[in-house]
Symmetry: C2
Subunit: 315 residues, 2 copies
């Protein structure tokens, strides 16, 4: 499958009745602070509390009924796990989720809540792969990678497409999203290219997990080693596929410090009265850091998710 | 001024371009937990973060230009203080706010942020009244009581009117709001009576500040003494005016425990990904406590505000 305009249009048709067309919110006071006109696409209100539902559901639903019956496998300790679990539940099939033993209880319970089978493994790449492989051999289920997968990318692309669909158009000068493995970033670049080519895509990344920034500027894929950031959704590295799309289509990548992430997260909570996870605050931190670039511009920001442990807040 | 249908319609016309027609959100998972169909009117997204903006702005704008120039006085350590401060700022006049010395710094700073003059006093009824009286004598400014004021009540009534205005109609069987001094409760009763007479108004109150519950059932106004509840917006007692309206128009009053309030507040944060203050969670707590009453019913809930100290959460 190639990622064409029609692929994204079809993905949107496939999933739209099962996901939320999430609201776009504005905040006068954050506009005043930033000097830009900000439009927040609230994926924290999405099913399972994050945009990941789009990609997982599109990937699951793209399979033949025969394949769907076999179920789905993935490894994730985060939102993708919940997304594959709920998507499988919707399609009345099994989900097999590989999670590190060290995953937070709150996330394990969320996945269990959607009726998925959980297999625990050691917290390293090899153990994850091995566990997935065993499950696939045993069950015949289909593997859904969190981002290195065209169907997942096409699903994530529907998020910015919804922004470009609304009428009257917002005429965005920029759209920002965070970059981790690059699934949402790739989807946003493709969608923008097809449906709003004048809008520039800027990616935002924690300084402490800046593989995309380094790879983009070196024009060579350089994975991150042992990232440590509060933005737990952004610790993964790009794949060849997502790196190619980002290299070809991103305007630039801005990195931000941990303090800048926490400041922006608190600003969103206090001024907008909505709950977002740290990863989600990275693009606003990027805007506040480089105000000049965005001054008086129309700027879309994808608020990626709202799954946060209320007992363990950074402020 | 008498509180007629036209009074509320005029109030809505007066303030509508300066406030938000706040969104009505739903949550599948909270519907499943409660067994009811809940429609949350999100006044936590209102200007100053609470419904109080409606009443204060309507009261301020109802004055003659000559009176507006003299400015406005009130006593409050909460959302009404911010509402009078911002309303006065909008009308380019002075606000004089009397606050107890012990008021949280976060609230003092919010009021200062709107450019109001703050006068500190001891934390008792007499000191507050005396300070207000002195300010009125000195400045000629107009006093705006937080709830014992028809213009304030008419402003609060616009909140539920917005629910009844939407098309297609929600056909609410019930509407719930919390009761403290009774301004919002009175406005909701009047508005419901005029614009959706089939809807029953149920009020919700903390057990630890249950003057409305006791007064309603004894049919006699009995103020609360030394209330202690996490729902800091609901510690005031009814006035004669609000008691009369509530006695005449409320279906019933349900009281809830502190634990029930915190449980419901957490549920709203976790499932809806929005920030609400403890007072705001009291009606949901009432629904969860008396599920039978609300089973399969269409129930409107006014989420009153989202001003909460993030450094001091109850969970």
């Amino acid at each position: 499958m190639e990622l064409k305009k029609q692929t994204i249009i079809r993905a949107q048709k496939r999933i739209k009745n099962l996901i939320h067309n999430t609201p776009i919110l504005t905040s006068e006071s954050i506009n005043n602070i930033s000097g830009a006109k900000l439009y927040f696409k609230c994926e924290n209100f999405q099913k399972i509390g994050a945009f990941k539902m789009r990609g997982a559901l599109n990937a699951v639903m793209s399979h033949s009924s025969k394949d769907i019956k076999k179920g789905f496998v993935t490894h994730s300790s985060g939102n993708h796990a919940q997304a594959v679990a709920l998507s499988s539940k919707i399609m009345k099939t099994n989900a097999y989720i590989v999670m590190p033993k060290s995953a937070p209880k709150i996330k394990i319970n969320a996945v269990k809540g959607y009726g998925a089978d959980i297999t625990f493994c050691e917290n390293n790449e090899n153990a994850r792969k091995e566990s997935c492989q065993k499950l696939i051999q045993k069950t015949g289920a289909n593997f859904i990678h969190p981002y290195d997968n065209n169907r997942v990318i096409a699903g994530q692309a529907t998020c910015s497409k919804e922004i470009y669909d609304i009428s009257p158009k917002l005429n965005l000068d920029y759209i920002l999203c965070p970059v981790g493995g690059g699934g949402l970033a790739s989807g946003t670049i493709l969608s923008t290219n097809f449906f709003s080519p004048k809008t520039k895509v800027v990616l935002a990344e924690p300084k402490n997990a800046s593989d995309a920034y380094i790879s983009f500027n070196e024009k060579k894929l350089i994975p991150v080693k042992n990232p440590k950031t509060i933005a737990d959704g952004l610790m993964t590295s790009l794949s060849n596929k997502t790196f190619d799309i980002i290299l070809g289509g991103a305007e630039k990548i801005i990195t931000v410090s941990e303090e800048e992430i926490v400041f922006s997260m608190k600003l969103i909570w206090e001024r907008m009265k909505i709950i977002c996870e740290p990863s989600c605050a990275v693009p606003l931190a990027a805007v506040l850091k480089t105000k000049k670039t965005f001054k008086n511009k129309n700027v879309g920001i994808i608020l990626t998710g709202g799954n946060v442990d209320l007992k363990n807040l950074p402020f």
